[in-house]
């Protein structure tokens, strides 16, 4: 047992830290810190900064323009980028479609799409979930039918994150309705400007706009937009679900969140004493810190296994479940720390010079409610438990 990183890994950490100190613009850092809107402009600018350094596509091998990092380097990069208040890289092109094209795409698709993803020419979004196909994704109904040299697509996708910015969407569609559900699904790329594609915003619980519905009405795309083999889309979907899941615990974000909670509890006063001295609140923070400390090690242990075996195992579902729950608890503490002062609806007090919360915390309640999504999306925590039941317990 040795819990230390190697000298090379420590040197790499310092390099990443220095890079962010020197290159992350203040306005981007402040937007992350204050929970402000990460606009398309901000994200494209941030991606370009990383791309210039060659660190944008953290999971890509060198041959496709990635840094060729292993799990430990990616982990160090994630931790340091979080600690620097850098945004989370938008995953749809870089973390999802890129690896899919590298494994399943044609040479032509790789040569065309991958450089465009790196350069930020195309903003991608994901067309997986449907109103009737959430946890039961394989029951999806959006239909693609061959007509000459085109696919004709009809149906609806939902929960399409940042689809309002997207130029392209990668979709799971039904190409054979007469076989077992999983065997009639294909993976197809659709240009969002194609006639018949319509994006409608979904307003979230806290009032924000991140996700959308995407409607397809007689949308015609070239046959060559199929990725991999026809009716083998489920294999791709499964590959994506297990690909590079070591970052899924969000440990870096939770570590930052814990520091925020602690700093906040020292600032908030309750009858002449800082909230940090309230034994009940302090106990809640300590409890979260204990869970997070264990999570850090659980994450590293799985990282180590992934490094050794070349790929992460199904046990990474544990990281998704516990990682999201810990982060949700920390968001609860942020809101709780403000007490009644978490009440104002975000923006409702704008134009007034009356602060109801320390800087960066006025939207703590909104963050708490928004964050409830993390135990639902990307395979709900119930689905993760089903995966663990099958793979780890063999039941």
């Amino acid at each position: 047992m040795d819990l230390n990183f190697t000298p090379e890994e420590e040197a790499f950490r310092q390099e990443v830290r220095d890079f962010f100190a020197e290159n992350l613009p203040d306005d981007i850092r402040d937007a992350v810190k204050n929970g402000g809107e990460l606009t398309k402009e901000i994200m494209e600018r941030y991606h370009a900064i990383l791309n210039k350094k060659g660190w944008l596509a953290t999971t890509w091998p060198k041959e496709f323009g990635g840094p060729g990092w292993g799990p430990v380097e990616r982990h160090i990069f994630d931790e340091e980028s979080c600690a620097a208040y850098a945004p989370r890289i938008v995953p749809f092109g870089l973390g999802m479609l890129g690896p899919v094209l590298q494994k399943f795409g044609s040479k032509e698709q790789q040569d065309y799409y991958l450089p465009r993803i790196l350069n930020g020419d195309d903003w991608w979004c994901q067309g997986y979930s449907e109103p009737g196909a959430g946890s039961d994704l394989a029951s999806l109904k959006t239909r693609a039918v061959k007509d000459g040299d085109e696919w004709v697509i009809n149906g609806q996708k939902t929960w399409t994150t940042l689809g309002q910015h997207a130029d392209w969407i990668f979709c799971l569609v039904r190409t054979d309705p007469d076989v077992k559900q999983q065997e009639g699904i294909s993976f197809i790329l659709v240009d969002m400007s194609t006639p018949g594609v319509e994006v409608r915003p979904i307003k979230l619980i806290e009032g924000g706009h991140e996700v959308n519905e995407v409607f397809f009405t007689d949308v015609r795309v070239p046959l060559k937009n199929l990725v991999g083999e026809e009716n083998k889309g489920w294999t791709i979907a499964k590959y994506l679900l297990t690909h590079e899941r070591t970052g899924i615990a969000g440990v870096g974000f939770s570590m930052l969140e814990l520091e925020e909670v602690k700093a906040l509890s020292k600032k908030i006063m309750r009858n002449g004493k800082p909230l940090a001295e309230d034994p009940l609140f302090a106990a809640r923070v300590a409890q979260a810190e204990i869970d997070l400390e264990a999570m850090k090690l659980t994450n590293l242990r799985m990282l180590f296994t992934a490094q050794k075996n070349g790929s992460p195992g199904p046990e990474t579902s544990i990281l998704k479940i516990k990682g999201t729950v810990i982060n949700q608890e920390l968001k609860d503490l942020r809101r709780r720390a403000l007490g009644p002062n978490a009440a104002p609806f975000p923006g409702s007090l704008s134009g007034s010079n009356l602060d109801v919360a320390p800087e960066g915390h006025a939207n703590n309640a909104a963050r708490y409610f928004n964050n409830r999504k993390t135990s639902i999306f990307g395979g709900s925590n119930e689905i993760q438990r089903n995966i663990l039941t099958k793979t780890m317990l063999g039941l």
């Binding site: 029951s139 939902t158 619980i205 002449g272 002062n341 409702s348 109801v356 999504k373």
Partner: protein
Amino acid sequence: MNFDLTEDRQMLQDSLRRYLGDKYQIEHRNKVAYAEPFHDPAKWGELTELGALFALAPEDAGGMGGAGFDISVVFEELGRVLCPEPVLGALMASRLMTAAGADQEALLSGETRYAVGLGELDAPYDLSGLSTTVKDGKVSGRKSVVYGGQAADVFLIAAKDGDSLSVYEVQASDASVTGYAMMDGAGAAEVVLEDAPAKLLLADADAAIEDAVNAGVVALCSEAVGAMDVLHKMTVEYLGQRKQFGRPIGTFQVLQHRAVDMLTEIEQSRSIVIKAAAELGGPDATRYASMAKNLIGRAGRLVAEEAIQMHGGIAMTWEYPGSHYAKRIIMIDAQLGDTDYHLSRVAQVA
């Protein structure tokens, strides 16, 4: 022993349920709850005509109720529709005015809207640290997150007066009021007082304020029970309707058990509120009000979070009514003392 409502309270419940169910359907509720003045002034008049406010005050103060169970009946119904009207302020003001023997006809008829300014930025729950002061009959200080303050005509302000607290009446026109919508809808305000002309309502008001807070706690807990009951029913209905893997998700045992855990907590909540309502005004009122607020803080979080989780994405949307119930239930915890604050009070009072 009898846990049935009296005939009068049953009639009050029936008429409120009919009226509110009809007039505060969720689309309308959301429209008024998030747009200035963050309630519906026309319906405020109708609601008061139904006697909702008269039920909150005892007969000798000009009302027709005032007992814990009267408050409970009214607020549970308000909770069932997430009613954004500033009734909490009226209730707490009425308790203070009853203690002062003040005329409250204008309050109970709904003609004059009252809000009560207790908490401050650095003293949101425990009022021993208030910094609002009085000098020569003028009040200075800042009251934070005053519920219903955005729509109030008159504020009752708790201020430090030597070693004890006093309650002063301040006209809204003499205060600087910044109103806003709350996360869960309805309005509140930051109320800044700078040598504001004030009329003394109550000196040595600590006990009266404690009673007003206890009444407010019974009200909020009842409101939470109403909202939790609706959200739970919505969840169970969804479990029965939503199909995945070829069958209703309510046939999965793991979800069945979690829905039952919600039910168990709601029944426990209902029980502790009955106890707190029964004790309101008596010597042990504070202890039981705190027990109720603590239990409901814990139960509310479970019910709201589990309801969202079991619905999945749909309950993360503004369009789905359940999301608004979840928000209200969670945010109630931060009104008039949260789970931890009331836990420490139970520990002290015991």
